[in-house]
Amino acid sequence: MSDNNQPVLDIRAVSGGYGDINILEDVDLKVHAGEVVVIVGPNGAGKSTLMKAAFGLVQVNAGEVLLSGEKITNISPDRLVHKGMSYVPQERNVFPTMSVQENLELGAYIRKDDARAQMDRIFDLFPKLKERRKQAAGLMSGGERQMVAMGRALMIEPTLLMLDEPTAGLAPAYVHQVFDWIRAINDQGVSILMVEQNAKQALRIANRGYVLATGRNRHEDTGERLLADPEIADMFLGGR
């Protein structure tokens, strides 16, 4: 971390996909320390695929991925966790039959030290989880499950947290809350990369945003400027 300009995550000219066919074509993306970066774009644009490519879940066929300057292209997820990277998938992101507390414990699997202090911090962020810590995660509401999912990912005290559509399927009241949490997590120094369908709201809390379409970079700018651009608003943010 000697070089302050070095991005936490640096995706350079990445092409990749699920088989021989590349879903992603020559995609670039950076997350600087302390930033919230949002990826928006139409369905099937490759947003989730890009995140998976960074996390070693999708084959990168060309280009490279760097984590704080270290090359991590095609490194498996269980090793990336040790490097301070955490990922919350779009779906199936909790252990449904396990209690809230056990979900958090599993998030801390790789920690050799006592993770209780971190669990307490997560309970401070999500007091509801403390109340419900004995309850099975699968029996909770969508919003509560999202708390569990984020809490699990935070247990390693990641430097980079990747969230794939954290507000998907949530009631509007909760959507607002999720963005508050993300800001609170970011305030604690965690860099955040997220994919969001609620693009306008997400761009409002983002430092920068990327518009992805058909597996390629279309636009990249600060959240504010992307929001202000009428063409982007028309094409990707569902009008103004």
């Binding site: 039959t97 599993l106 998030g107």
Partner: protein, 286 residues
Amino acid sequence: MEFLQLTYNGLVLGSILALGAIGVTMIFGVLRFAHFAHGDLMTVGAYVALTFVHWLAWPIWLAALPAIAVTSILAVVLDQLFYRRLRRVAPVILLISSFATALMLRALVQIIWGPDNQVYATGISIPYRIAGLVITPDSLKVLGATALMVVVVHLFLAHTKMGKSMRAMSDNVDLARISGVPVKRVIFWTWVFAGALTAVAGILLGVDTRLIPTMGWNILLPIFAAAILGGVGRPYGAVLGGLIIGLAMNYSVLFMPSAYKLAVAFIIMIAVLILRPQGLLKGISL
């Protein structure tokens, strides 16, 4: 009175089924793999214990220890030798290979220990009679050992890091992997643990009845029925499923010839698969 006796006998059989079903359900949970050689692994466990009982005149509980060790190691070896290599291929190949393994194990048992009936202890032990109920000392051993094992399984799954990792993999393999759970190590210990349970189940089956090379194979169907009824991947469900299947098989003699006991387990299994495939405790969807 007959009903009471059938209930008791049903619980004894159900205990053995439960122990077998816990192993089957854990292996399925962690590996998504219906292990058809499970019954024959039970047989091996039972016969290894027999060797120590006959040659060294060890009491059965002591002979259980080397039997557990041998069966666990054998389970790991089978996984490393056959199943591990086939995991990436189509699941049906894995299934067929476990059938083949079952045949191999059975043949091995016949070669080493011979095809004839054998028992751990000869002579007749005098049963207790309580309120018209006939309770053999052997059946008490089965119930006691099962209760002990269920407590061990519970403590392991609820309170150890490895046990929790196994439950996590049953719940969501991908999420376990991205949380940094060492998947291969968990698979290894799943075979060790399931192997140990399998040995105990086999020994208890031998204690309750007698040893023949087909003993485990013959009981495989009700064990799978128990695992499915309880909810695949749910160890507590397997216990519940085992007891229910054991009771149902015994109660069935009130209505039909006892030769149809196995058919009862089969019918329950099919009915569950059609009507409630997730089982009683909402297991993995099949």
